[in-house]
């Protein structure tokens, strides 16, 4: 693996609402090396997107706040306390992001060209003419046929898959070290999804970019990720390399999650996780999963377990405490 590009330590993001302040993400720890794909998986509301928005400093002002003890290190530099201006130099240049909904991410009143040249002109400070050439080159790279003509069109003239390609082209245009993809293929059909995922994989290899892939689809994870971070209730509950996680999940939530996915070659009755995800406002005091866990003990209800190290992997469960 390459150099360490991102190191997140004890990341806690709180939201201020009318009904009080509560953490949307707490005690997140993970690292990211150049050239690797880290998948962050979890169900809706588990804090996957808030984690990525915290790294990018894109949380809504006054509502979301990264707590002072959090640390986000990008290539060894602490960026969690960066000002907006300092972040602007990083965003789109060193760290870029691709969102789920490409139609709302692109400006409908500007041609694709007008939006594509921006990152080149702002970050690389090259002339418009050179930027236009570079933009066309980028579109060719992501597999848009006839880019010279397509680039003069508006976003609505592109199909969903093509728009997502444009988004990825824009995100990669300054050759960033980290690419965060927030559910990049959720809105797309499976055959298009396969195309896009393959393209992200090929480009990642070519440019040696580190990718954080946020998704809820375990199938996508199994096929694209090197390492996987499973989230539940605003916390990471298990971090392991992809193969180990799927063959030998440790955390009860990961086990339940994997067992409840319908298999393509097996239609025996699905096992389920009883109950439902607690709302972030009334998260249990102890382990966040305790109300749905079959191994729950008194201790689980009282204390929130830390991430325990089990060899190369980490798991947030008392059952894997040292000596157990």
């Amino acid at each position: 693996m390459g150099e360490r590009v991102l190191e997140v330590n004890n990341l806690t993001t709180v939201f201020h609402t009318k009904t009080g302040t509560f953490p949307a993400v707490s005690q997140m720890n993970f690292t990211l090396d150049a050239g690797e794909t880290l998948a962050i998986v979890g169900e809706s509301g588990c804090g996957k997107s808030v984690t990525s928005l915290s790294i990018m400093h894109l949380l809504p002002d006054r509502m979301g706040e990264i707590t002072p003890e959090s640390s986000i290190k990008f290539k060894g530099t602490e960026i969690s306390k960066y000002s907006n201006k300092q972040m602007s130099n990083l965003r789109g240049n060193e760290i870029s992001m691709v969102f789920q909904d490409s139609l709302t991410s692109l400006n409908p009143t500007m041609t694709v060209m007008a939006q594509m040249v921006e990152p080149f002109m702002v970050h690389q400070k090259i002339s418009r003419k050179d930027a236009e050439k570079a933009a066309i080159e980028m579109l060719r790279k992501v597999g848009i046929p006839n880019p010279e003509a397509r680039v003069k069109q508006y976003p609505h003239q592109f199909s969903g898959g093509m728009r997502q390609r444009v988004m990825i082209a824009m995100a990669l245009s300054c050759n960033p070290s980290v690419l965060i993809c927030d559910e990049p293929t959720t809105a797309l059909d499976v055959t298009i999804q396969a195309q896009i995922l393959k393209m992200i994989y090929d480009l990642k290899k070519e440019l040696d970019t580190a990718v954080i892939l946020i998704t809820h689809d375990m199938g996508v994870v199994a096929e694209t990720a090197d390492r996987v971070l499973v989230m539940y209730g605003g916390q990471g509950v298990e971090l392991a390399d992809c193969h180990t996680l799927f063959t030998n999940p440790l955390h009860p939530y990961t086990q339940g999650l994997l067992a409840s996915i319908p298999k393509i070659d097996d239609d025996t009755r699905l096992s389920t996780i009883e109950g439902m995800v607690p709302s972030l406002k009334d998260m249990p005091k102890g382990c966040h999963f305790c109300d749905r866990c079959q191994y729950c003990t008194d201790r689980c209800r009282k204390e929130n377990p830390p991430m325990y190290r089990a060899g190369e992997r980490e798991v947030r469960c008392f059952r894997y405490e040292e000596g157990n």
Binding site: M218, G219, E223
Partner: protein, 325 residues
């Protein structure tokens, strides 16, 4: 097994506005589809967005009036009935939609919502009888009684989908069209709802037409599967046949494109080139030919018909049998 429903040559075209002084064009969403639904079976429709699977489901229930074709239920062609004559049949033909947030009126309590169809069809003489019916159906789908006086916003997606299922079930339906019922739900909740739907079918013996884009869900719940592409069936087979022995190149590509949540699952992946053509102006002959790697001249000129290629297995492809997987 007995036939419950017979669909013959069902077609639905929508006019697409061409604009001022321009002739309006025709969009054929469902193009001459025929099939049967047996009693107690689950027939699944899969396909990508815009292939007409939802329109087909709605045309069968006459929510959208089909342009031509027949839907025969109990020996009666539903397409020929007017709204008034159709009404008695509506009781037996129910629908579950994808978005449980949009399909429940936020101003009604759960009791009112579940009781509404009983009211509309005057199936309960007294309010005690209505209460009894509601309580019974709640027990079956796992809704606790203290939910009944609450409003939809107090529930999560999975719970709401249960309420929607209860509302369909209270009419004693014989046929339920489910339009992507679990697509909006999280994985752990999805399995609860899928299990519930399967249990209910076993208990009450109704049939499902299950519309979905997710082949692993379809594999779990379905008995037979129909694959749609641009308004047509390209393949129709029992679940085992379809997954083990897909004959149509589109089905093969679709199966190979699904991400499988198993790191030990090995396969050769075929990537489909390009995107689905516009249904306003579909390709001549076989509609899939523009993306098909086996396409030849005959595909351009002649439209393939669904033909038998195996036991209970139909496919619409000229090259069937000539191609190897």
């Amino acid at each position: 097994m007995k036939k419950l429903l017979e669909v013959k040559n069902l077609t639905k075209t929508f006019p697409v506005n061409g604009g001022f002084l321009k002739k309006s064009k025709k969009l054929t969403a469902v193009d001459g589809i025929s099939f049967d639904v047996m009693e107690g079976e689950t027939l699944c429709l899969v396909g990508e967005s815009g292939c007409g699977k939802s329109t087909l489901g709605r045309c069968i229930l006459q929510i959208i009036k089909p342009t031509s074709g027949e839907v025969i239920f109990d020996g009666v062609d539903l397409c020929k009935l007017d709204e008034k004559k159709m009404r008695p049949y509506r009781q037996y033909l129910q629908m579950i939609f994808q978005d449980p947030y949009a399909s429940l009126n936020p101003r009604m309590t759960i009791r009112e919502l579940i009781g509404a169809p009983v009211h509309a069809f005057k199936l309960a003489a007294t309010s005690d009888e209505l209460d009894e019916k509601i309580r019974e159906v709640c027990k079956v789908v796992g809704i606790s009684e203290d939910w009944l006086n609450k409003y939809p916003h107090e529930f999560s997606g999975g719970q709401r989908q249960r309420i929607v299922i209860a509302r369909a079930l209270i009419m004693n339906p014989r046929f339920i069209v489910c339009d992507e019922p679990v697509s909006a739900l999280d994985v752990s909740i999805r399995s609860q709802v899928l299990n519930l739907m399967k249990d209910l079918q076993e208990q009450f013996k109704f049939s499902y037409l299950f519309v979905s884009h997710d082949l692993s869900v379809v594999n779990y719940i379905g008995d037979r599967i129909a694959v749609m592409y641009l308004g047509e069936f390209v393949e129709l087979a029992t679940k085992r046949e379809l997954f083990n022995n897909p004959s149509h190149p589109y089905t093969q590509a679709l199966l190979s494109a699904i991400p499988v949540a198993d790191v030990n699952y090995k396969r050769e992946r075929t990537y489909l080139e390009g995107e689905v053509p516009s249904p306003v102006n579909p390709p001549s002959g076989c509609r899939f030919r523009t993306r098909c790697r086996y396409a030849s001249d005959v595909c351009k000129s002649k439209r393939p018909e669904l033909k038998l290629v195996g036991e209970d297995h139909f496919a619409a492809c000229h090259m069937c049998g000539k191609i190897t997987k």
